[in-house]
Amino acid sequence: MKPYIPEYVGTVTKYVFVDSPDTTPQDIATAAYEVAQGVMIKETCFGCQITGNPEDVSRIVDHLRELDPYRIFVKDRGFPPGDARRCRADLGGARPGYLGHEFEMKMAPYISYGLEAVDNMSAEELAKAAGEPLPIEEPLDADILEQLMEE
């Protein structure tokens, strides 16, 4: 077996996604480059990826969030950007995680709306808005169904 010598040890990588009428993925990347100070930025179709030491990455993420606070979403990534092991070009297909992002980004507008709505709520208002947890749908018990139908 071949030995493995890792690259980018001690760094973190974060995905920055944007879904906004006001901010394009390119705006995000440009803004990131402006404050990069040597930190690695990779522009993507959804925003950018930032790789560097945790403090630097956090500084850039905070800066980007300010651009469009409710419509920018940030997530940790295990791999550095463009890694051949996960790269679409090398695998002939999207890595599985891509589809997961596609799935969650579909609800970005709802969450953005929610973020904006709760932003200035007091603790009481927040508690009220939280209300009961969103119900988790259980499959309807056959006996109950029968009973309902009879009614």
Binding site: L91, G92, G93, L99, E102, F103
Partner: protein, 421 residues
């Protein structure tokens, strides 16, 4: 034939997390193939999953369904398909089986299905991926139905080495020996076959090798064809059984592992290879004959003296426990012929449970390899499958016959080259 790598669509669940993805990729690279994931979008997954209609809970299995459909429907091109999932996962086993069936029924793309665990290494996967890549790459050679010229096939198996010389579509010489030193055993069987045929080595126009020792012997003989036993054996089987058109199922219970191959028009479509333990292989029958004090060649006749031995408690799922039940059966007074038949029944049962569930059984069912000469085993398999099993002549030489047949595809080209020179 272009030199572009054979592209094999990987439709798996759990490979990366079992730590074996690298083994799959390297095994493929060794045989000049390239694994790739068929690209699908989220909406494809949703549609494909709904259309396929098999409810599953694991997202990666939904993804597998979508990937298989993308290949079968031609949205993604692939030369072969490798379907695999974790051993012991029931949900994945159902999906794997249904996808394999779906691919075989709806496309001509060769497919191999496999269940792995973390100990699955590149060497285990090699033969399977080699077969897949051979079927994809060498369809022309595989389509050969008639042997021409003078060719030789050498099959270096885990237990025995075999050689066959063919001339103008006839077998004219054979050699057979237990495998000891790989090269020496090969040289011995070649000498035997040449002597029987009355030919000299210089008369041989093309050579094919197969079996575990194929690479070593192939190099030693400067063979034209060095090919794994899955495709070679199935080719040899349908050729000898005269079943080159339409569907057939080939079963080869070997000394170390078993093969079940579903063939369509002489070309393998789907196959499995393996066995959890030697208890499901010819090795267990060797142990039985030793314990009964008869030669392995007499075990078949002995077992036929019994009605079938199904009432003798015998389970060779594991060779150690199988041997224990063998000893117990004898100690409890069962007759040797019943014990012999019970061993055959148990091996057939293991093959049925472990392998035949992974291929579609279509008649004729052809049994080949040395173990096909053990009549009790053939009878047990026939009863299990409720069919008359076909054992072609020279079935013990199957790999060598297949290699000689396929190698004859090189004869005309070589003759032309010779003329030019």
């Amino acid at each position: 034939m272009s030199d572009r790598p054979v592209r094999i669509a990987q439709i798996t669940c759990g490979a990366e997390y079992s730590g074996i993805q690298n083994e799959i990729t390297s095994a493929a690279a060794t045989v000049g193939a390239q694994m790739f994931y068929p690209d699908v979008a989220l909406k494809d997954v949703k549609t494909a999953y709904k259309e396929f209609g098999l409810p599953v809970k694991s997202p990666d299995l939904k993804l597998a369904i979508a990937r298989a459909k993308a290949v079968v429907e031609g949205r993604v091109e692939a030369d072969g398909i490798f379907i695999a999932s974790c051993f012991r996962c029931a949900e994945a086993a159902i999906v794997r089986n249904e996808l394999r069936r779906y691919i075989v029924e709806n496309s001509k793309i060769p497919v191999v299905s496999y269940s792995f665990n973390e100990r699955t290494g590149a060497s285990t996967l090699l033969t399977r991926l080699e077969a897949l890549s051979t079927i994809a790459k060498r369809r022309e050679l595989m389509a050969r139905e008639v042997q021409v010229g003078i060719t030789m096939g050498v099959d270096s198996g885990s237990s025995t080495t075999k050689c066959v010389i063919m001339k103008d579509n006839e077998i004219v010489g054979t050699g057979w020996k237990p495998t000891t030193e790989v090269l020496k055993s090969a040289d011995d069987v070649i000498a035997e076959a040449l002597a029987e045929s009355g030919l000299k080595m210089s008369d041989i126009e093309a050579i094919g090798t197969t079996g575990y020792g194929r690479f070593l012997i192939g190099k030693h003989l400067n063979a034209d064809l060095v090919q794994e036993e899955l495709t070679v054996n199935s080719k040899g089987a349908v050729y000898l059984a005269n079943a080159q058109k339409g569907f057939a199922t080939v079963i080869d219970i070997g000394g170390m592992d078993n093969k079940a191959i579903s063939v369509n028009d002489g070309i393998p479509g789907s196959f499995t290879m393996g066995g959890i333990c030697a208890g499901a292989s010819g090795r267990f029958l060797e142990m039985t004959s030793k314990r009964l004090g008869v030669d392995i060649t007499e075990l078949g006749a002995l077992s036929m003296k019994s009605a079938g031995g199904e009432d003798v408690p015998m389970n060779s799922y594991c060779i150690v426990f199988g041997t224990q039940s063998l000893v117990n059966a004898l100690a409890s007074g069962y007759k040797p012929e019943d014990v012999a038949a019970a061993s055959c029944h148990s091996v057939a049962q293991q093959v049925y449970e472990q392998q035949l569930q992974e291929v579609d059984i279509k008649e004729p069912v052809i049994m080949v390899g040395g173990s096909s000469l053990i009549q009790g085993l053939v009878r047990a398999m026939g009863r299990m499958l409720n069919t008359e099993v076909v054992v072609p002549h020279h079935s013990q030489y199957i790999g060598a016959v297949g290699a000689a047949l396929i190698a004859s595809g090189f004869v005309e080209k070589k003759r032309a080259e010779k003329k030019e020179a």
